[in-house]
Amino acid sequence: MTATQPLDGVDRELDPALVPAAPLDRGSRRPRRIAGPRSWGLGPWHWIGLAMLTVVVGYSLLYPLLPSYDPYGQDLGRILLTPGADPAHLFGTDSLGRDTASRLALAGRVTVGVVVVIIVVNALIGMIVGTVAGYFGGRLDNAMMALADVKLALPMILVLTALAATFGPSIKLMVIVLAVTYWVGYARVARTSATSLRQRDFVLAPALQGARTARILRVHVLPTVFSQMLILASTDVGAVILLMSSFDYLGLGVQPPVPSWGSMIGESQKYLRQNPAQAIVPGVAIFLAVAGMNLVSQRFTSERAAARRPSRRARGRKE
């Protein structure tokens, strides 16, 4: 059992192999910024991340309020305008003459919705499966780990492609596939957490007093696991945006005419030479969203991303 830091009620029991250490030489740990109420514990990089996120999310939410918002209207007389060529089209137009600025904003809204659904569903499934497997151990635990291995052996893109060919690609299919497969990472973290909690005094004591298992899980185990899930979810947002945009790029996710950042890049690849801005603008939006979210999530954890998949070696040692 590694050292725990009871910091703002969050139990951070990490795999010892994944706890970040100071650089080789200086011997001492970098002094930690102490969270003060005034700064919310945010360092300069967190603020930069927050600013990047605000730009993307604010733009997606507010631009549709403008009168020039029209993501679907085609104008074949004004196709492939470059940004600034026409004041009515801030970022130019695509190959059908649709306003890129409007499509960018709508795609941002779609992204936010899809990412929230995927992460909430996965965190919930992962939390339940992982907690139960970790708390009870045994056969269920082994079965879950075996399932995780099979899942890791199958590249998600292939699975989604195969299903898309069968049922036809749709945003619903993408969300379902991601929702039922992505939880393995959450389950692993929940499992590690539940396994160690099982032996702690505040969990053993009520068990000794005859509390029902359901109550122990609900009152004593799940709150800790839940806060871990929140941390993991915050680091996962960037990864899910990247994954989703890859699927959209291949045409397996959000379907036309609804725009998505990934499909906007995919479509503009055909006329990359004439109008590279049509690919660059959504690319920058993805970058801002992902980098911004990654910077912000470092507020909750530094090297937590690496802890998503505890090493097999470490797993073996515990069993």
Binding site: L152, G238, L242, L272, P276, S311, R313, R317
Partner: protein, 306 residues
């Protein structure tokens, strides 16, 4: 050691069987391929004949049994599109093309990551370390397909140095490999840096320092061998994501590899090819992981006991 190897082999077989099953189920979910293979005005008799020929008129369990039996005899079924050609022959044709790209990309990643981390650890420079990790973070926030497009835009469209698509020119491997390499660079830099920093804080390093050993000796002879083990493990786990990334990159750069073949076959409902392709990808993954585990068992006796 024999038991350890035996158990890992058994696990590998179970994983492959699961993938075969999943691949088969996908193929059957789509229903009979008659609608795709026959002309639109085909009669019901022609459809029935084709279904009978392909075995689609029998119960699914029987079909799966036949398929498995065929696999054991080395019969991977013929491609629906290119009749008379074994689906595995089509896959085997594309496999080296993908491996070429994957290995060059992985080589880029490993050389860059090990070079950067070893320099950082050797100099102990904090500025250098945060620079390397920041560059990694920036790259990690750009989707691979967009990074690939940016490369095409600068190196090919603007500067005209490199061919942009396909694999006809010898240099065309550079851009896709660079895309994969920099993406994987991020993963390995973080892993190795984390692992080496952790080992660097352990007692045997302090002892070595107290003995008066030089930095080079400590970093390369003491820390590196120990730090490599966890990196190796995660490298094996990372391989699934790596293979998936390869599929994407092949589509961005029109690289005629396995990924393109599988995606193309999915759209053409050529399921024997899809199944064979998925089996090969899974086998690659399992084989690499098996290799990683065995190498680890040789290097670190503690793993064998786990």
């Amino acid at each position: 050691m024999t038991r350890f190897v035996g158990r890992r082999l058994l696990q590998a077989l179970v994983t492959i069987f699961a993938v075969v099953l999943i691949a088969f189920v996908f193929g059957r979910l789509a229903g009979s391929p008659a609608a795709q293979l026959l002309p639109e005005n085909a009669t019901q008799e022609q459809r029935d004949a084709l279904n009978a020929e392909l075995g689609f008129d029998r119960p699914v369990i029987v079909q799966f049994g036949d398929y498995l039996g065929g696999l054991l005899r080395g019969d991977f079924q013929n491609s629906y599109r290119e009749t008379g050609t074994s689906s595995m022959a089509l896959v085997a044709e594309r496999l080296p093309v993908s491996l070429h790209l994957g290995l060059v990309g992985l080589a880029f990643a490993l050389v860059l990551a090990f070079g950067a981390v070893l320099i950082v650890q050797y100099t102990g420079s904090r500025i250098l370390r945060s620079t390397v990790l920041s560059v990694g973070s920036v790259r990690a926030s750009i989707p691979d397909f967009f990074f690939g497009l940016l490369l095409v835009l600068t190196l090919s469209v603007h500067l005209g140095w490199l061919p942009s698509l396909g694999n006809s020119a010898p240099l065309s491997v550079l851009m896709p490999a660079l895309t994969i390499g920099t993406g994987q660079f991020v993963v390995y830099t973080r892993l190795l840096d984390n692992s080496m920093s952790l080992e660097g804080a352990s007692d045997y390093v302090r002892t070595a320092r107290a003995r008066g050993e030089g930095r080079a000796f400590i970093v390369f002879r003491e820390v590196l061998p120990n730090a490599i083990l966890p990196v190796l493990t995660l490298a094996g786990i990372n391989l699934g994501a790596f293979l998936g990334g390869l599929v994407l990159i092949e589509n961005v750069f029109a690289w005629p590899g396995l990924g393109q073949l599988i995606v193309g076959s999915v759209y053409a409902r050529d399921f024997p090819v899809v199944q064979s392709g998925m089996i090969v990808v899974a086998a690659l993954f399992v084989a690499a992981n098996l290799l990683v585990d065995l190498v680890q068992g040789v290097l670190d006796p503690r793993v064998r006991l786990a």
